[in-house]
Structures are given as C-alpha cells and as structure tokens.
C-alpha cells in the first residue's frame, strides 16, 4: 500500500442537538483521524452553532459533545474553518465560540488557535481544494 495522503473535508451545516448529524460527524472525524490523512472541518450555515461556548445540556437530558472539539488537536485535526457570513447572519462573533487550540509540534508545542474564520468565497476555495468532501 502506498502512503497517499488525501485532503478530507468534513462539512458541518446543522445545529448541534436538533438532529444527530453534528454528533455523528464528530464521531466520524475521530475515527477518520486514525488514518493519518489531511483533515479539515468546515462550519457554515447552522453548523456554526455547534461551536458556541457555554453549552449546558443537563436540563435537556442530552449529551454535551461540545468539549470534544477541544480534543481534536490531540488527533492532529487542527483546521476548523468557520464562515464569517454564517456567523454574521446569526448574530454571532468569534467571541461566542469556544477557544479551540492545538499544540504545534513543529513549533516547540506552542498553543495555536484551530479556528480559522473565512469568508464565503474563501470557504468555496477550501471546498474546491479537497480530494474528499463528507457532508453532515
């Protein structure tokens, strides 16, 4: 087997708890992380709601999976593209989102932000740059 590294993009367009899509996407990302591919996540439309900080699901009786996003860096998933227009439309700013960081092993394990805010046009370029696009 040749070691071909492909670019995988996981596209998140749904809010976190109304459907199972968001949680399933995260499961697939974690499973896929074992295959040493070039992985990115995209958050647009209602998908940006997945990253809000302060999620408290106790009273709703749901599993709060939002802390898992902060663990992605340990699986070398370090590129979380978030669309600016989707934030704007929903009255959100970067401050409303979790602070998600990873340790850069090529830079003395310095902590760096995983979230990359991009415009819709830049998001289109990210999508067009992939080998495989998986939607949730």
């Amino acid at each position: 087997m040749s070691e071909v590294i492909k670019k995988f993009l996981y596209v998140n367009r749904k809010a976190p708890y109304g459907t199972i899509y968001a949680q399933e996407a995260l499961e697939v990302v974690l499973i896929g992380a074992a295959f040493d591919q070039d992985v990115s996540l995209a958050f647009l439309d209602d998908g940006v709601f997945q990253l809000t900080k302060g999620q408290d699901t106790k009273a709703a009786g749901l599993k709060n999976f939002s802390p898992t996003f902060r663990a992605l860096g340990d699986y070398e998933v370090t590129k979380l593209y978030v669309e600016q227009e989707s934030l704007d439309e929903r009255g959100l700013t970067l401050d409303d989102l979790q602070d998600i960081q990873y340790e850069d092993e090529d830079d003395d394990y310095e902590e760096k932000p995983s979230i990359i805010v991009v415009s819709r046009a830049e998001m289109a370029n990210v999508m067009a740059d992939q080998d495989v696009v998986l939607s949730f």
Partner: protein, 102 residues
Amino acid sequence: MATLHTVNKSPFQNQTLISCLGHAKAGDSVLMIEDGVYGAMQGNAMSEVVAGMGANVKLFVLGADIAARGIDAGRVAKGIASVDYEEFVDMAASHDRVQNWL
C-alpha cells in the same frame, strides 16, 4: 478541477440549495435530486433566485425524481438539463469530487 454538487432538499424547506449555489465555483455542476428537484421548476417563487445564483454553474435535475413527483418535463426551467441515473454516474466519475448538500 470541477466539483459535482448534489442537492436533495426542496428550496421551500430550507436554505440548502441557496447555500450550495453560494459556494459552488464557476464551471461546477449542480444536480438536483430527490426533493431537490423542486428547485428546478420554472414559474415559482424560487425560480429567479436559482437562475441568478446558478448563472455561472451548470444546472441539472434527475429526471426520475421529476417524474416520480408528477412534475411534467415542460415545467423544468430553461437551462436546466435532465439526466438519468447512468448520466449521474458518469458525472460523478468525470468530476474531481462530489459534494452532497444534505
């Protein structure tokens, strides 16, 4: 380096088709399938938006899903080509990637 986008939701139900058209690059193909085929009809509240936002992409609709919903082929908007399942497979193979908008 073109992408085949598929859309399977009605544009009257949610923003999926609009989001797809807002992210598709010039020269990409957008294929409306399942309930997505309602976005291919002419003379409804979405027709002008689809035509405008889709001006730089190639628009297609899956004929089987049009027929299944009782939509006459004549109701498909001008400039939107109807394809069958074999052509769908050929399109998936001839593009660099497939992006499904769910």
